[in-house]
């Protein structure tokens, strides 16, 4: 196998098919604080310094990505995020038991929720006990 002569960097942007890009953009702003960056032919790009999501009009297929995780710095922030998401009635997994390990025995803690198109999102803290 030939050696790959480059290393991919941080996520620039990714596209997501949603039913109503403007409505989704508002949800991402309320839920995750992502701001509108620009509009394009069939959608809206939202983001912050770390990521841009291009929301374009199309048929949502949540199972294609299974889920997408964004890191948070520590557990205190994760707990604040949980309270915020609850306060705006986001569709959280495992009500009452939302924060848990990313997998059995994992040191990484997360919480999982769905956007209005059914895509599954995670907020997580790596090595939460450190």
């Amino acid at each position: 196998m030939p050696k790959v002569p480059f290393t991919v960097g941080v996520v620039g942007h990714f596209g997501l098919a949603v039913r109503d890009p403007k409505k989704s953009a508002k949800w991402f702003e309320r839920a995750l604080g992502l701001k509108k960056e620009f509009e394009f032919g069939s959608g809206v790009a939202i983001g912050n310094d770390n990521v841009t999501i291009a929301l374009f009009k199309g048929k949502p297929l949540p199972e294609t990505i299974d889920h997408m995780s964004f890191h948070l710095p520590n557990m205190a922030t994760l707990r604040k995020a949980l309270e915020h998401l609850k306060s705006i009635e986001v569709d959280l997994e495992d009500p009452g038991d939302e924060i848990g390990p990313e997998g059995p025995g994992s040191p990484h803690m997360g919480l999982w929720f769905h956007d209005p198109d059914g895509y599954r999102w995670e907020l997580s803290v790596q090595n939460a006990n450190k």
Binding site: D94, G96, D97, G103, H114, D115, G118
Partner: protein, 410 residues
Amino acid sequence: MNDVYILGGGRTDFKRNLKKEGKTIRHLIIEAGKKAIDDAKIDPAEIQAGAVGNFNAGQFTKQLQLGAFIPEIDPKLRGIPTMHTEAACASGALSVLLGAQWITGGFHDVVLVVGAEQQKTMSSLDGSNVLGAAADYHNEKPEYGDFMFPKLFGRIAQIYIEKYGASEADLAQVAWKNYAHAKLNPLAQMRDADLTLDCASQVSDKNPSVAPPLKVSDCSQITDGAASVILVSGKYLDKIGRDKNKTMRLLGYGHTTDYLPLDKKDAPTFSIARKAAEKAFSMANLKPQDLQGAEVHDCFSITEIVAYEILGLAEPGKGVELVKSGATTLPQVRNQKSGKLPFEIPVNAGGGLIADGHPVGATGVRQVFEAYQQLTEQAGARQIENVKRFLTFNMGGSLTTSVAMVWGRG
């Protein structure tokens, strides 16, 4: 007709989220199946057939042909006949009934039954749409919209309240009781949740309205889980030298099917569901007052109230009185000052669908496994004292498919 006995069983922890573990419904079926075989202490080669109760793995997980996971429980099961049963939330009871009828009919002597559902694979909205297949989807969806099932049972609650004058606080008694019972069940989904009667009785930020008069606390859970039992004939018990008097036996059953849409049923009487209970009691030659415990389908709080009346535990319109009397609450949970009641029948001692959890296709099997644990005195902190006769009532849709089974020991 051959007698049917339960030799063992098992279940998974209903608090789990399989997706977070990187597992699927395949793992649930295998795990639960192994537990039943271990508990029954039999060689898997003795098992002659398998039944899998499941509602909608096709839509929840895109996986069907679930009987094909039975051979993965143990290589000795490769080659046996298997079937998948489906009747919405009654899918699990149907798998038990199928296994029982194989034995009563003389086709097999040892049957493995597994009920399983993996629901936490999608958003709540999409999941509720999948559950909508249990109703008359194409005709009732336009009328009820999203989250169809809470709305269908909200409608049943409205009809009940109009007829008998019950209140939201009355319904809260069921939710409070079942959450309190779940605290005694180490595998219940809501075992760590605290629900006060006050919180369950009124709409609040913590307990929002879902489909008036139903609030979040009135609803069952979205659950990943499986349960299993091993059914055997009396002939097999003789072969292995097991005392029949110490083994749980099926005494009677009834199984009925009503029209699919709610507005074609006689709510809140549900005379067709009532026939299932009457048949079960008639076959068992018992009355409701002969029971010491029951697992009753409580997909919503109103369902448990209506079920009391369908099953003859309460007269029509008196279901609320029954739950308020404390007769269906475990003495371990009930205010001890109330003392012994004239008629006591703890209902949903493990928390029921509301607080133990409701992995749809597993629920009917889980109820039978709970009956097995109670009748063999393995229920731990939630054990019902001196229980000899026990009822399970599992139903699918808006009281469309009903399965009542009466069990006993000794």
